[in-house]
C-alpha cells in the first residue's frame, strides 16, 4: 500500500481552520504517550501541564509575560516567512535589541528621567532591526543564503552578550556575579496591572503589533505585495514589485519586533542583563508563527499556547517531578504536526493498494 496525494482544486477552507487544532490534539496524544513512557500518569500530567497554570490569576500574568516575546517575534517572522524570507536568527536580534536598549541604564545609570524608557524602546527596536539588516544586505547584495547567515549571527550575539555581562558591563557592585547592574526605576517597563501580577506592557505591544500587521497583510497593497512575492516571485516581478525592497522590509520588520521583544524582556521581566536572557524565544517563535498559520491574529493565540507549555513545564517539574526538558520536545512535536496538517489543506490523501491494475475500481469509487 502506498500513500498518494491528490491536489484539491481549491484550498480547503475547513482544513486551514482545523489544521492547528488537529495538530494540537495530536500533540496532546503524543504527549500523553511520552508521559506514559516516562512513567507518569498521563491524564494527571496533562492536567498539570495545560490546565493548572490557567487557574490562578498570578499565573495568567506569568502566561502573558512568557507570551509577550513569543507573540512579538512571531508576528514579525510570519510576515517574513510569507514573503519567503527565512529569518531564523530572531534569537540573535532579540539579544542585540535587549543589549542596545540596555546601554542607557547600564552605562549611564545616573541619567534618570522619564525619557529614558522611550529611548530604550527605540534603541531596542533599532538594535534588532540593524542586526537583522546584516543577513538582508548579504542576501540582496551577495545572494547569500539568509537561513545560514541569520542563524550564525545568533551564536555571535550569544557570545557577545556573554562577554559583555562578564566583562565591560559587569555590575561593579555585584560581587563578581556575571550580570549588569539592576535597571533603575525609569528604565523599567511598567506592569499592566501590578496589583495582581507581573504581566508588563510587552504583552500590550504584542497585541497592538498583531492588529497593525493583520491590517497591513489583509487590507493594504503592501500586504498584497508581500504575499505575491512570497508565493510567486516571478509574478511579483511582473507586477512591478521589488524583491530586494521586500527582503529589507521583512528583515527589518521582524528584526525590529524581535529587538522590541528583547528590550521588553530585560526591562519588563528581568530588570538587568544576564549571560542568558532567553530560553530560546527566538526559535520557539518559529513554531508560534507556523501554529498561528502565519496570520498575525492566529499568532496571538498560538503564542499563548506555546507560553502555556513553558508554564506547564515548570508546574510539572514541581508537582510531578517531570524534567523541564520535556517542554522543548513538546514544542518540537507541535511544529511537526502543524506542518503535516498543512498538507491536507492543499491535498487529499488516497491510500492505494500495491497492485496498480486492481486499483481501478477502488480509485473510481474514491472520486
Amino acid at each position: 500500500m502506498r500513500i498518494e496525494l491528490v491536489k484539491r482544486p481549491q484550498q480547503s477552507v475547513l482544513f486551514s481552520v482545523l489544521s492547528p487544532f488537529i495538530a494540537l490534539a495530536l500533540t496532546l496524544i503524543a504527549g500523553a504517550l511520552l508521559f506514559l513512557l516516562l512513567g507518569k500518569d498521563p491524564v494527571n500530567t496533562l492536567y498539570v501541564f495545560f490546565i493548572e497554570p490557567l487557574r490562578e490569576t498570578w499565573s495568567l500574568h506569568e502566561l502573558a509575560v512568557k507570551a509577550a516575546p513569543l507573540i512579538l517575534i512571531a508576528i514579525g517572522l510570519s510576515v517574513c516567512f510569507l514573503s519567503n524570507n527565512w529569518n531564523i536568527g530572531a534569537e540573535g536580534q532579540f539579544i542585540i535589541g535587549a543589549m542596545a536598549g540596555s546601554i542607557l541604564p547600564v552605562m549611564f545609570p545616573d541619567f534618570q528621567s522619564w525619557i529614558v524608557l522611550p529611548l530604550m524602546l527605540l534603541m531596542g527596536i533599532a538594535g534588532g532591526a540593524a542586526y537583522a539588516a546584516v543577513p538582508a544586505v548579504l542576501k540582496v547584495r551577495f545572494n547569500t543564503n539568509e537561513i545560514l547567515t541569520s542563524l550564525m549571527l545568533v551564536y555571535v550575539a550569544q557570545l557577545f552578550l556573554d562577554w559583555m555581562v562578564r566583562g565591560p558591563w559587569r555590575n561593579p557592585e555585584g560581587f563578581n556575579f556575571p550580570e549588569t547592574r539592576s535597571f533603575h526605576e525609569y528604565a523599567i517597563l511598567p506592569e499592566i496591572w501590578s496589583a495582581s501580577g507581573r504581566a508588563h506592557w510587552g504583552f500590550i505591544f504584542g497585541l497592538v503589533a498583531a492588529l497593525a500587521l493583520w491590517f497591513m497583510m489583509t487590507k493594504t497593497l503592501r500586504g498584497f505585495e508581500i504575499k505575491v512575492l512570497g508565493q510567486s516571485p516571478r509574478a511579483g516581478r511582473f507586477a512591478g514589485f521589488s524583491q530586494g525592497r521586500i527582503v529589507f522590509f521583512a528583515f527589518l520588520l521582524s528584526g525590529a519586533l524581535a529587538g522590541l521583544a528583547g528590550l521588553s524582556e530585560v526591562s519588563g521581566a528581568i530588570g538587568q542583563l544576564r549571560p542568558v536572557i532567553s530560553p530560546g524565544y527566538g526559535f520557539t517563535a518559529i513554531i508560534v508563527a507556523f501554529l498561528g498559520r502565519l496570520n498575525p491574529l492566529g499568532v496571538v493565540a498560538a503564542g499563548l499556547v506555546l507560553a502555556l507549555t513553558y508554564l506547564g513545564g515548570e508546574a510539572a517539574q514541581i508537582s510531578v517531578g517531570l524534567s523541564d526538558k520535556v517542554v522543548r520536545v513538546f514544542q518540537g512535536m507541535i511544529l511537526f504536526f502543524v506542518l503535516a496538517g498543512d498538507t491536507f489543506i492543499h491535498y487529499r490523501i488516497r491510500f492505494v493498494s500495491a497492485p496498480a491494475a486492481a486499483a481501478g475500481e477502488a480509485s473510481r469509487a474514491n472520486v
Binding site: 491528490v6 491536489k7 482544486p9 481549491q10 484550498q11 487590507k219 493594504t220 497593497l221 503592501r222 498584497f224 504575499k227 505575491v228 508565493q231 510567486s232 516571478r234 509574478a235 511579483g236 516581478r237 511582473f238 507586477a239 512591478g240 496498480a356 491494475a357 486499483a359 481501478g360 480509485s363 473510481r364 472520486v367
Partner: protein
C-alpha cells in the same frame, strides 16, 4: 493482428475524464496519427501507453496479449519508446549522460556512447555527446531524445508534437528519419495538431475530442478542413481580419537593443531594432530559446535597458523605466508562462487582476489610505471574465484551478480591459484549445483595429500568418527585418528561423532604415 491495441482506456483526474473509453489500434510498419486539439486527451493517452500514468480503467494489448504497462521501464522493456513534447532531459548533464541515465541495460558507458554515435549517423541526427544539454538548441535536444529512444530498439515509437519546436526545414529532415524507421518495420504513433503534415506522412489517424474517440480514418483521403471539423466538433469561428489599418505613428520602438545573458542558460540579445505602428500587428517568429523570453523581459521593463532610448513607448523614452511605469505610459504585457509569471497560481482571479493593474488603476482599486477595494476589483474581474468568456466553476477561483485556455483568456482580457495603446504578448495561444485561441486572436486583431500597436511573439507560424501585418524572425538573439505579410512565405520565414543567410538581418535592417 495490430502491434498495439488499447481497449476502453480511461483516465480520470479528480472529476475530469481526461480519457474516456478510448479504443486505438496501431498496425506494424504504420505511421499512425493521433489528432486532437489541446486538452483533448492526447498526452494523457500516450502517457498511459508509455506507463507514465496509470489507467483508471481499460486494457492494453501488445501483439495480441494483454499487458500491464506499469512503468516507463516496463514499456521500454516490451518495445515501446517515447519522445516527449516537453523533453525529459537534464540541463546539468551532458548529452551522453542524458542518454545513459534513461537506459535500463547495464552496458558500459563506452559501448552505449558508441551505439549512440552509430544511430546518430544512420538517421542523420548529429549531436555533440559532451555538450551540456542546457547549452543546446531545441532541435539538438530533440535529437538527443530521439537517439535515446532508438537505443532501446523499440518496435513502437511515440512522438508527441515533435515538429512544434522545429523550423519547417528541420521538420522535413525529421520526416525523412521517420520514413526510414517505417521502412525498417517499426510503427510510429504521431501526435500532432498540424493537419498538413499528418496528411503528408501518416497512414491512419485516430481523432480525439474531449477525451473520446470521434473518428478513425485515412488522413490522405480527408481534407484539412474535414480533419479540423472532426477535431474541434462545431465550426470554430474563423478569425476575421479587415484590410490592415496601419497608421504612420510608431507607438512601440526598440533601437539597438543589446542585452547580456543574465544566467547560464539565457540567450544574449544583440542589435535588435523594431517598430510597431498604431493599428499594426507585428509578429516575432522563431524557434523556442532564441531570445524571445529575453526580448519580452526587455520590452516589458522586467529588465531595464542601459540607455533610455533603447525602448520607446508612444514616442517617449522608456528604457530606464520599470514595468509599472511602462504600463502607466499605456503599454500592457502578457508573458509566455501563465502560471507563475502572468498569474500567481494560488491567488484568486480578482487578486490576479490587481497584480498587473494596481498602478494603472490605483484610483479605482485603492482608496486614499492605500487600502484595497476588494468589491470593485471583484467586479472588474467579473467584467473581464464575461468579456472573454472565461469559464469557471466558482465565482472567484484560484488561477491554478482554471484550464489553460480559460486562464489565458483571463490574463489577456485583464490587459485588454485597460484598452492599452501598446500590447506585447508572448505566445498568446500556446497550449490553448481552438475555441479559446480563436477568441484571443480575434481580440488582438480588434485591439489593433482600434488603433493600438500589437507585438506578438510566437512559435506558431500558422498563428502569425493568420493575424500579423508583418513578421520578423528571431534567431540566436538577433532579429531580422520585418517581412510584410504579403511577401512572407513559410519557406522564407523557416529559413530565417533556422539561422540561414547570416548577415541577412543586418543587411535588410540597413535597407529598412
Amino acid at each position: 493482428m495490430p502491434l498495439l491495441e488499447a481497449r476502453g482506456l480511461t483516465k480520470i483526474f479528480g472529476t475530469l475524464r481526461a480519457c474516456d473509453h478510448i479504443d486505438l489500434k496501431i498496425g506494424r510498419g504504420e505511421i499512425h496519427a493521433l489528432l486532437g486539439e489541446n486538452g483533448a486527451g492526447k498526452s494523457t493517452l500516450v502517457k498511459m501507453l508509455f506507463g507514465a500514468l496509470e489507467p483508471t480503467e481499460g486494457s492494453i494489448l501488445w501483439k495480441g496479449e494483454q499487458v500491464a504497462v506499469s512503468s516507463p521501464r516496463e514499456a521500454r522493456r516490451i518495445g515501446i519508446g517515447m519522445v516527449f513534447q516537453h523533453f525529459c532531459l537534464f540541463d546539468a548533464l551532458t548529452a551522453s549522460e542524458n542518454i545513459l541515465v534513461s537506459l535500463d541495460d547495464p552496458a558500459p558507458a563506452g559501448a552505449v556512447t558508441a551505439r549512440a554515435r552509430d544511430i546518430s549517423k544512420a538517421y542523420g541526427l548529429p549531436v555533440d555527446p559532451n555538450a551540456h544539454v542546457g547549452d543546446l538548441s531545441v532541435g539538438e535536444r530533440q535529437r538527443i531524445e530521439i537517439i535515446r529512444c532508438l537505443l532501446q530498439n523499440p518496435e513502437l515509437i511515440i512522438l508527441d508534437e515533435p515538429t512544434s519546436v522545429l523550423t519547417p526545414q528541420e521538420a522535413d529532415r525529421l520526416f525523412e528519419a521517420l520514413e526510414k524507421l517505417k521502412e525498417e518495420g517499426r510503427s510510429i504513433l504521431y501526435i500532432s495538431h498540424r493537419l498538413e503534415e499528418v496528411k503528408r506522412i501518416c497512414d491512419r489517424a485516430t481523432v480525439l475530442r474531449q477525451g473520446k474517440v470521434v473518428s478513425e480514418c485515412d488522413p490522405r483521403k480527408e481534407t484539412a478542413s474535414s480533419l479540423a471539423r472532426m477535431m474541434v466538433g462545431n465550426e470554430v469561428q474563423p478569425v476575421v481580419r479587415d484590410k490592415p489599418a496601419v497608421q504612420s505613428e510608431a507607438l512601440l520602438e526598440v533601437r539597438d537593443l543589446d542585452r547580456k545573458a543574465g544566467h547560464p542558460f539565457a540567450v544574449a540579445l544583440s542589435g535588435i531594432n523594431l517598430s510597431v505602428r498604431a493599428g499594426e500587428i507585428l509578429g516575432v517568429a522563431g524557434v523556442a530559446g532564441n531570445g524571445q523570453g529575453e526580448l519580452f523581459e526587455a520590452v516589458s521593463g522586467e529588465a531595464l535597458q542601459e540607455r533610455a532610448d533603447q525602448v520607446r513607448i508612444r514616442g517617449k523614452d522608456a528604457g530606464r523605466r520599470d514595468i509599472s511605469e511602462r504600463r502607466l505610459m499605456g503599454a500592457a504585457f502578457v508573458p509566455e508562462e501563465r502560471l507563475g509569471h502572468a498569474a500567481a497560481p494560488a491567488m484568486t482571479l480578482s487578486q490576479n487582476l490587481l497584480l498587473s493593474r494596481y498602478r494603472t488603476d490605483a484610483r479605482a482599486f485603492l482608496n486614499r489610505l492605500g487600502m484595497i477595494r476588494n468589491s470593485l476589483i471583484a467586479h472588474a474581474a467579473q467584467r473581464v471574465s464575461s468579456a472573454m468568456d472565461v469559464r469557471k466553476g466558482v465565482e472567484d477561483p484560484e488561477a491554478s484551478a482554471l484550464s489553460g485556455g480559460n486562464l489565458q483568456k483571463f490574463v489577456i482580457g485583464r490587459e485588454l480591459d485597460r484598452q492599452p495603446l501598446v500590447m506585447v504578448v508572448n505566445q498568446p495561444t500556446w497550449g490553448v484549445d481552438a475555441g479559446a485561441a480563436a477568441r484571443i486572436r480575434q481580440a488582438l486583431i480588434d485591439l489593433a483595429k482600434s488603433g493600438s500597436a500589437v507585438l506578438v511573439i510566437s512559435q506558431d507560424l500558422d498563428e502569425l500568418f493568420e493575424i500579423c501585418d508583418a513578421i520578423a524572425v528571431m534567431h540566436g538573439g538577433r532579429l531580422s527585418a520585418p517581412i510584410p505579410i504579403g511577401d512572407a512565405t513559410y519557406e522564407k520565414i523557416g529559413l530565417l528561423m533556422g539561422g540561414a543567410e547570416p548577415g541577412h538581418a543586418a543587411v535588410s535592417q540597413a535597407e529598412a532604415v
